[in-house]
């Protein structure tokens, strides 16, 4: 039904996942993971699971980003590999 929208969302999902894996600056990885969670929430909503999408948007794109940023402040910004 919404296959064009879902195709665009899947392409952006792959892009954000690839950037989050390949980034050397961990802050970029955290922001890309947050964008990944938001796109996942939109995909869940297009599949009709509004409750799951709402939970994903609130937890994955909201609180997890804050906690990961705190973890970065406690440790280091850059990865060695």
């Amino acid at each position: 039904m919404y296959w064009e929208l879902e195709l665009i969302l899947f392409i952006f999902l792959l892009i954000t996942a690839y950037i989050a894996l390949e980034a050397n600056d961990l802050l970029i990885a955290v922001v890309m993971l947050t964008a990944f969670s938001f796109l996942m929430a939109l995909l869940f909503t297009t599949m009709g699971a509004v409750d799951v999408g709402f939970t994903e948007a609130v937890v994955g794109a909201g609180v997890t980003g804050i906690l990961l940023i705190v973890a970065i402040y406690q440790t280091t910004y850059k990865t060695e590999d």
């Binding site: 409750d51 609130v58 909201g62 609180v63 804050i66 940023i69 705190v70 406690q74």
Partner: protein, 146 residues
């Protein structure tokens, strides 16, 4: 969180945004019976509005909004609300969380289910909010870290 120079734009922006997130969290909790959402999502939204102030302005200003030593008692209070509702239904002759057996006078079975779910979700929201704030405070403080 850190002691670098404060940015007034970030502080004012988060102070503008935080009450609206909090109102939306209360909306999600109080409409949890007949729309998507409920105690967990609403509590997480309330925690997000508290953590926004905490991450933008530091611990001193954020303790004016929600003091960190209140987090553990409120979490225990939320768990007590949840299990108190469930065990009250057991003691009055039903099953655990059997809302129709709650001893509230003058209500029909449908109204009893309505109020029972609302009370339970208030407990869940309180616990989720305070435990997420507790996790943030302990990560910033670094008690197990030094």
């Amino acid at each position: 969180m850190t002691n670098k120079e404060q940015s007034p734009i970030i502080l004012l922006g988060s102070r503008f945004l935080s009450p609206y997130i909090m109102v939306f969290g209360f909306y999600v909790i109080f409409h949890g019976h007949y729309s998507p959402g409920g105690g967990f999502q609403g509590g997480t939204l309330l925690a997000a509005s508290l953590l926004l102030i905490r991450i933008a302005s530091g611990t001193e200003i954020a303790s004016l909004q929600f003091k960190d030593y209140l987090a553990t008692p409120y979490a225990a209070l939320g768990v007590l609300i949840y299990f108190g509702t469930g065990l009250t239904a057991i003691f009055t002759g039903g099953y655990f969380l059997d809302y129709e057996q709650l001893p509230i006078p003058g209500l029909e079975a449908a109204d009893l289910r309505y109020w029972g779910i609302l009370i339970v979700e208030l407990g869940i929201g309180l616990t989720v909010m305070t435990v997420l704030v507790l996790i943030y405070d302990n990560m910033v403080k670094g008690e197990d870290y030094a």
